[in-house]
Point group: C2
Chain length 317, copies 2
């Protein structure tokens, strides 16, 4: 059930901070890719929909949100099952939502992007209508997986699934709200507070939901604990976005797998454009610190979350 | 809680077949419109998203799917509460899914329609990007409402909500599959079997889900009863679509609120084009008969469903 080559994730977490993070993320990527593949393969779809959805969901990507689901589950779990069914469903579902948002975001009427993860975007390969429908079905499929009995023949916990559904559907709505605010911001100068509101919705909501759904998967419903995790995820989500803005300035198209410098070209308000590059880099570091502080009450079972936060700050793409 | 002007729906159902159906449908329209308005008004959205969503969801429409939810609930209910919270959530959710599908279907990259329900379509008024995002958020909001605690401060039944979520998310995926099959069929001649497959997915899946979710709202989980309702909804969904094709030939743009004769203009395969108009009309009558037969085991509590089926066959728009 765990699909881990070499060192188990439990062992990796057990030996704590000194373990190189990428292995955790690689394991998460392996797990979620296998599960996505399984779910998509089971769909009775016309061939072109299969192809478009596979293109959207199986072409790589960092799989940060699924990794957050697994690590949040591990942080709250009482046993050493790293990928319980409720976490696997949530990981697949949140990645499907993320992928749908990218497909629609890339459409000509939105950002009109032709490159994503180093590949031509879905509409470039399969046409606009199919890309639109692929995005639509990725969203439906997310909720189908989350509410279904995938990866498990055990008795399901309806209350866990319902809590996950509430979290993910709210986050999906917030994400669209954030996209709309972002769209409206393209034509005007926005301040730091407005920029934060955009990102808290556009990317932050899914990151908070990933962490919440992971905790729910471990049966965690204690408000104080969930509140700490929310604070962690809020700061992490914002740090992630600030870092994204920084990388758009400091990295290359080849490393990013999408056009670097596109924010400046579009005259978008970003943290570097508002604060300057150095202050933006410092802001990412401060937010990372806030995220780690929010986990102060957790023991070593949260080392996976800590390691993910470290990696996301230090990444170059 | 019931929002019914004049005769109550319970009274209407109680006096049986002789009651004119439109009142049932008018009551359902009143109920779901009030609930949609309530849900949409509670959203913390940018103004343009509010406007686009209101345009998509509150401009009329027959509200057939919500009415089916309420009537299926009534058919299975042991008390005379006509609009329990679980039915109200399902009615709002399925109408939101239906509206999202119309917004995306009308987009330039799809059918490129400028008229819907007698009004300019969402993208004509608010632009393509906002229409795309409005459709996206209508889908998320559907699942948010269905999994949430709207219209009720009572203890929720997680198992009912989960069953409804499974039904609606599967139906939403099937609907997209149907749209894709429909899109592919535009460029070729299809047979009656293929046409049925398109409609069973494109429109039938939501109609079956409406009936299922209504039954679940009444706590009905008995396989034999659900099976009868599925047979009813399958035949009704197909009858509805055959009748839609017939009306596209026999009705006017003014009555339909969308361009009449558009199927022929697009050289689409329809029941009248495959079978001839008279045989298509007969097919609708036969399917209606099948639908009514499937309800043979139900008492007068299913008269609302019977009356809806009668109305849908006799409608002119």
């Amino acid at each position: 059930m765990t699909f881990i080559p070499g060192l188990s994730q439990a062992e990796a977490i057990a030996v704590g901070h000194s373990v190189a993070l990428p292995q955790l993320l690689i394991d998460a990527q392996t797990q979620v890719k296998a599960d996505l593949l399984h779910v998509i393969d089971q769909q009775d779809w016309p061939e072109i929909l299969h192809k478009a959805v596979r293109h959207a969901a199986l072409q790589g990507g960092k799989r940060v949100r699924p990794a957050l689901v697994y690590m949040a589950c591990a942080a709250c779990a009482l046993d050493d099952v790293l990928y319980p069914a409720a976490a696997r469903r949530a990981a697949v579902a949140i990645e499907l939502i993320h992928c749908y948002s990218l497909v629609h975001d890339d459409l000509p009427c939105m950002d009109d992007d032709e490159l994503r993860r180093g590949q031509p975007t879905v509409h470039v390969v399969y046409g606009e209508a199919n890309a639109l429908l692929a995005g639509d079905v990725l969203q439906s499929l997310a909720f189908e997986v989350l509410s279904g009995s995938w990866f498990s023949d055990q008795t399901l916990s309806a209350s866990v699934q319902l809590a996950q559904m509430q979290s993910l559907s709210q986050a999906a709505s917030q994400m669209v709200k954030g996209q709309l605010l972002d769209l409206a911001a393209e034509t005007k100068q926005v301040g730091e507070q407005e920029l934060e509101t955009i990102h808290v919705n556009k990317t932050g909501a899914l990151i908070r939901s990933a962490v919440r759904m992971g905790a729910y998967a471990a049966g965690m419903m204690t408000p104080a604990v969930l509140n700490d995790l929310d604070r962690f995820a809020y700061a992490l989500g914002l740090a992630f976005q600030v870092q994204d803005d920084v990388l758009d300035v400091t990295s290359t198209t080849e490393t990013l797998g999408k056009p670097a410098g596109s924010d400046e070209k579009l005259q978008k308000s970003t943290y570097p454009s508002l604060l300057g590059l150095t202050a933006a880099q410092q802001r990412a570091i401060d937010l990372h610190h806030e995220a780690i502080q929010a986990l102060a009450g957790f023991d070593q079972r949260a080392d996976g979350l800590r390691a993910l936060a470290d990696f996301l700050l230090k990444r170059t793409a």
